[in-house]
Each structure stands twice: as structure tokens, then as C-alpha cells.
């Protein structure tokens, strides 16, 4: 009997050692991985932000360019993580002319940057740049996660510049006691934090994300990989994901303060009481078509935070698409990879045809 326990221990120990050794061989020499795989061109720079242009492949389906506004949390290359798992590549493959904002890494000097600087400043400048560069009076805007909230605010302030609004896993209605992140955000003293440390460290946010599922994300995720450590492709994919997860820029202090206080703690955007630069943000001014995409198993931005957008905007042309995936799955799951790009492309195509683009908005 005793020997049997020993035998099992030895077998398991040997297996783990063997696999770890393979993993060691396969990963320890990899110093870095690229931030995105699809060829791109930097076409705009302002302070720390850059805008990339991805040329459409094949026949253009929509004459209006699409600008992606990612979150300030983590980086945009999650949507371009690997050749076979790139939403950017699939979107240009659908014939879309794609521009993407890379917000960069705020430094201590940026602690006073406000949400107004991001939305009225950078985002508005980028939109104008893309409009000018392409000759389109209006452009299509796709906001992701926190960038979805930013894009929604932008579209209600500058409806004359946006042809179609697409949002993906966007936190809009945050009046909930269910999501852990939403509950935690309500209780902490963001004023004290920003006044004391300035920018909010990316590590602090990451810690919050890890705490949502501590044993799964800190232990089992890695233990589960042991069996697959001898597969170099799996290892590379895992490394890419790890790089992205822990590549967390700090959050500009004042922007983070307003985002947490006004959206998470007071839910002002949803109540129609949110202001930016002294102007009230009225979501009813979003009269352009809206495509709202979210994951039904999302534990970071649960569906009930994204879904209510349809009721809040001033257009009847709202399409809501729910995918049976989580937050990260929205970017990398095979389901989302397969279905989302054609959904976005076809939806835009239907709303970009010449007769739908009225007056000065007509593409040149």
C-alpha cells in the first residue's frame, strides 16, 4: 500500500519535471514578443499616443474608415495577438480600412491628464485626422471595453463626425451589486489614491483582476499548462497572452478618478448626468446606428453593464449581439474570431452604402 502512494508520487513528480524541462527549453530563451502581428504604419503621433493604419485586404466593402478606440487598461494588441487570432487582420480581410489608437504608457508627468484631455483632446484630434486623411466627413468608431465608454461619450458629443458606432464589452450601466469589480470600485477612496500616488499603477488594477478568480488565475492556469509545455506553439501563445495580461500601463490619475467616481460609483453616464468639460453628455444624441457586442460569460464587464445601451441611445437602429464567451474570449476565442469580423463588416457595409450616407457625410 505504502509503495503505491510512493509510486504515484514518483510518477507524478517525474511527469511534472519532464514537462517543466520541456517548457524551460521552449520558453526561457524568448526575450520578447511583438506588440501585434499584422503589418501596420504609424500615421499619427501626439504626446505618447500613436495611431496605426492597417490597409484593407481585398475589395473594400465600406468607403468609410473604421477607427478602433481601445481601453486605457492593457494594450490594443490583444486584438492582434497572433497570426491566426487577430481581429485586426480579420477586419481588414473583410475589406475594412482600419485605424487603431495605441494610448501608450502615461508617465508621472501625465497625472493631471483628464478624461476631457482623452476624449475632447486626443480622441477628437484622431477622429479629425482620420477624416482629413481619408476625405470622409464622418467615420465609423469602434470602442472596446473602457474605450467603448469613451467612444459612447464621444459619439454623443460629436454625432456629426460619427457615421456608425460599434461598442464591444463596454461598461455603460454600472449600477449593480453583482459584479465584484463594480462592488469593489464603489467602496475605495479614489481621491486619496490619486492625490497620494498620482497615476494608478497598472499592477494595482491587475491585482484586482487576479483577485476575481485567485486560485484559477494564480495557480491552476499555470498548473494546467504543464501538460502542454512540450508544444512550442502552445507555449508561444501562452507567452503572448501572459505578456498582454501583465502589460498594464499606469492610469493617468485624474482620468482614472473621474472614470471611477462618475461611472462606477455614481453611474452618471447611465443616469444622463455625466458631464465632460462642462458639457452634459446626453446619450440620446447618439442618433447614428449602434452595434453593441458583448460576452455572456464576461466577469469583468458583465452583460448587464453593456446591454442597457440600446435603451439609452437616441436611435432605433441598435443591433445587439451576445457571444457565448468571456471578456478575453471576445478577443481570442475561436467563436468570436470566426463570427465577429464578418458581423461587424456586414453590419457596417449595410450602413455605409452611398444612399445611406447623407449630405456632407458622403464618402469622397
Amino acid at each position: 500500500m505504502a509503495e503505491s502512494v510512493m509510486e504515484a508520487m514518483m510518477k507524478e513528480s517525474a511527469r511534472v519535471q519532464q514537462k517543466l524541462l520541456k517548457g524551460f527549453e521552449n520558453m526561457v530563451h524568448i526575450k520578447d514578443l511583438e506588440d501585434g502581428v499584422t503589418p501596420r504604419e504609424v500615421v499619427y503621433r501626439e504626446d505618447k499616443i500613436e495611431v496605426y493604419h492597417y490597409k484593407p485586404e481585398g475589395e473594400s466593402v465600406c468607403p468609410i474608415p473604421l477607427l478602433i478606440c481601445y481601453a486605457l487598461v492593457n494594450r490594443q494588441y490583444m486584438m492582434d495577438i497572433q497570426d491566426n487570432l487577430s481581429l485586426f487582420r480579420k477586419l481588414i480581410g473583410q475589406g475594412l480600412d482600419l485605424y487603431v489608437i495605441d494610448w501608450g504608457y502615461p508617465s508621472k508627468m501625465d497625472k493631471y491628464q483628464t478624461m476631457e484631455d482623452y476624449i475632447d483632446g486626443y480622441l477628437n484630434n484622431v477622429v479629425d485626422f482620420v477624416r482629413e486623411r481619408t476625405g470622409s466627413d464622418k467615420i465609423n468608431l469602434l470602442g472596446v471595453c473602457q474605450g467603448g465608454a469613451f467612444s459612447t461619450i464621444y459619439a454623443s458629443l460629436y454625432p456629426e463626425k460619427i457615421q456608425n458606432l460599434v461598442v464591444m464589452v463596454a461598461p455603460i450601466d454600472l449600477d449593480t451589486q453583482d459584479g465584484l469589480l463594480q462592488v469593489w470600485a464603489k467602496s475605495f477612496d479614489v481621491d486619496l489614491m490619486v492625490d497620494t500616488i498620482g497615476n494608478v499603477p497598472g499592477e494595482f488594477l491587475n491585482l484586482g483582476f487576479l483577485w476575481l478568480k485567485p486560485f484559477q488565475l494564480v495557480i491552476d492556469k499555470y498548473v494546467g499548462l504543464i501538460d502542454r509545455l512540450d508544444n512550442p506553439e502552445t507555449v508561444k501563445y501562452f507567452l503572448r497572452m501572459e505578456k498582454w495580461i501583465f502589460d498594464s500601463p499606469d492610469q493617468a490619475g485624474e482620468t482614472f478618478k473621474k472614470f471611477v467616481k462618475d461611472l462606477f460609483q455614481k453611474n452618471l453616464l447611465c443616469k444622463g448626468e455625466f458631464t465632460l468639460g462642462g458639457r452634459k453628455v446626453d446619450l440620446k444624441k447618439i442618433t447614428m446606428p449602434v452595434l453593441n457586442l458583448f460576452g455572456e460569460q464576461d466577469h469583468l464587464v458583465p452583460p448587464y453593464c453593456s446591454k442597457p445601451l440600446a435603451e439609452l441611445v437616441g436611435t432605433k437602429d441598435v443591433t445587439t449581439v451576445e457571444y457565448p464567451v468571456g471578456h478575453i474570449g471576445m478577443y481570442v476565442s475561436s467563436k468570436a474570431q470566426k463570427e465577429m469580423p464578418p458581423t461587424v463588416a456586414n453590419w457596417l457595409k449595410d450602413r455605409c452604402s452611398a444612399e445611406k450616407i447623407k449630405g456632407p457625410g458622403k464618402a469622397k
Partner: protein, 372 residues
Amino acid sequence: MNGTTDKPAEWMNQWLKMQEGLMKEWTSSLGKVMKSSALPEEWMKMPLSPVGLYDQWSKSLSDLAAKREEEGVGRLVYDRIASSSKVYMDLLNFWAKSTGVFKSVPPGKTLTVEEINALRNDWMKNYREFMNTLWGSKPAGDEESLGKTLEGTTLSASDLTWSLLEPVLKNVAQMPDIVQKIARGDSSAVLDLGGIFAKNYEDTVGPAMIAPSFGYFKQLNEKITQTIHAYVRFNTAKNAFSAMLYKTGLKAAEKVYERSSEFVGKEATPENFKAFYRMWWTANEETYHVLLSSEEFNTMSKEMVTRGLLFRKWIDELMDHVLRFTNIPGKKDMDEIYKTIWELRRELKNQKRVIRDLEKKVGAKDRKKKPA
């Protein structure tokens, strides 16, 4: 893909040499066990049990990577995997011991209440040992760096704090009782100490620390004592937070113990261990999820973060005060600079926008003036 792939030729030789050494030790250890027909528990205490050997092996591999100065995403992630594998292997060790505990009961024997309690106590004792190794394991990165962010420059302050607070501890009435508990191996008693210490501190030395000072060094003295006071409070909050997590770990242990009954009588195979591992982490996840959703967690985590920030605030105050006498800018000076840069940058952008709009208007007028 721009992953660097420099693999020096000597690496494999170094590795083989190391494996050869380990294999010799393994064989000799195994030989001794076979000859002495040692019981698993006795073997487990030997340095070269499967888990002991694994630890040595893992350390050698890590040393080898350090020797080669491997740095970058690959090394970083490998370390995370190795750290989690260590928890996995420690659990394997615990599983082998607990299997031994259950197997010590002769089949078919009806146990008395005392025997059941003794069995449970043995199991819990082993689990607590495992928990200690789990809590001592290297975190996946962020917990560590956050700790550094909050604690920052606390180390030098701790000696001073201790010399100030030693009298408080000596007068703690409950101390003998706690010491007894600690001596019996109850790790949670160490954590209870934090709460009692905090109360005694607030009742005795605490008020003195924030009392107004006087004399030439008034401001400096006040800032120093306020900083120490903030540190003690942060440390207390941190300990209370850790105690809450540890106690939740013990609650999870109860759940794991209850669910362990599914494994009694099952053969000790790697597959059954894997099933045990799955049960273990999901039971923990469920238990911690209840904690994380609770008001208690909200209050305690808020308290810890707030205390950490206040401590940091006082360090900044103190540093600013000290730096006043030098040419080095303090936090307040830097904040002023950052704010001015931000304001200037904003102003510049506004002006650029105005100029661009004017240029557009002028351009439009010019176009109108030109004959068709």
C-alpha cells in the same frame, strides 16, 4: 515573431551534468528507502523524497537560468509556472500524507468519536503545514510589486517602531495565552496577536505619536512621529487583512476535508491525485469567492489600502520637509512642475486648434474669392 532564440551549446552539457548528479542522489536515496522499508511519512521527511528532490531540481534549474542571465518574458512566465508547480507538488506531498492518515485505519473498523477527531486533527495538522508552504510561495508577480508600492521604504522604520512599541507588547494581558497557542502550532494565533497589539497600541503609545510637538524641530518631529504612527496602523491593517485571508484558507480546509471523503478507499494513482487537486482548488475558489463578495472583505481591503496610502502620504510629507534644505525637488515641487507642463500643453493644443480653424476659414474665403 521576433523572439530571440540564442541557445548556447554548453547549456545542454551543464544540464546533463546536473541531472547526472541528481540521479545519483535519487538512486542512493531510493536504495536506502528500499532497504529500510521506510514508511512514506518517514521518507517524506528525508531531503530526497519525491517532493524534496523536485524542490532541489527546480532550484537547480532556476539557478541555471540565473547563471545564464536569462531575462525577459520567457523567463518571467517560466518562473510563474514553476512557482505554481511548487504549490502543486506541495499538495502532492500533502495528499500522500493524508492518504497515509486514512490508510492507517484498518478496513471495516468502526471508529469512535475520539478516533475520528484524532484522524481529523492529524489531517488538519498536515494541511496547516501545507498552507504555510502555500502562503510562503512566491506570488505571480503583482501581489509582490503592490506590496513594494505600498510598503516602499518601511524597512528602516521597523526597528525604530519596535523599540518604541516593545513596552506595549510586554503589557499585553493576553500574551501568555497567545504564546501557548502558538506553541501548540496554531498559526492563526500569530495573526490574532496583530489585533490585540493594535488595540493596545491605540490605547497607549498611539495618542502620544500624534500629539503636537514643540521646539526648533517641532515640524520635523511631528512628521516623523506621524509617519511612524501611519506605518504602525498600515502594518496592523495589513496583518488583519492577512489574518482574514488565512482564516478563509482554514475554512476552505474544512471544505476540502469534507470532500476528501470521496477519495477514501480510492487507489493512490496520479489520476486520483489530479482529481484531488481539482477538488482542492475549486473548493478554495468557492470559499474565497464568498469572502471576496462579502462586506468584511470590502471593509478590510479598503482599510488596508487607505492605511497604506496614508503611510505613503506621510513619507512624502517627511521627505518634502527634509528636501527643503537641499536642491533636490520634493513631491510637491514635482507636482507643481507636472501641473504647469499639463496646463501649458493644453494651452498649446488649444492655440493650435484655433490656428487650424482660422487657416481653414481663410482657405475657404480664398477659394470663394478665386474666379471659377
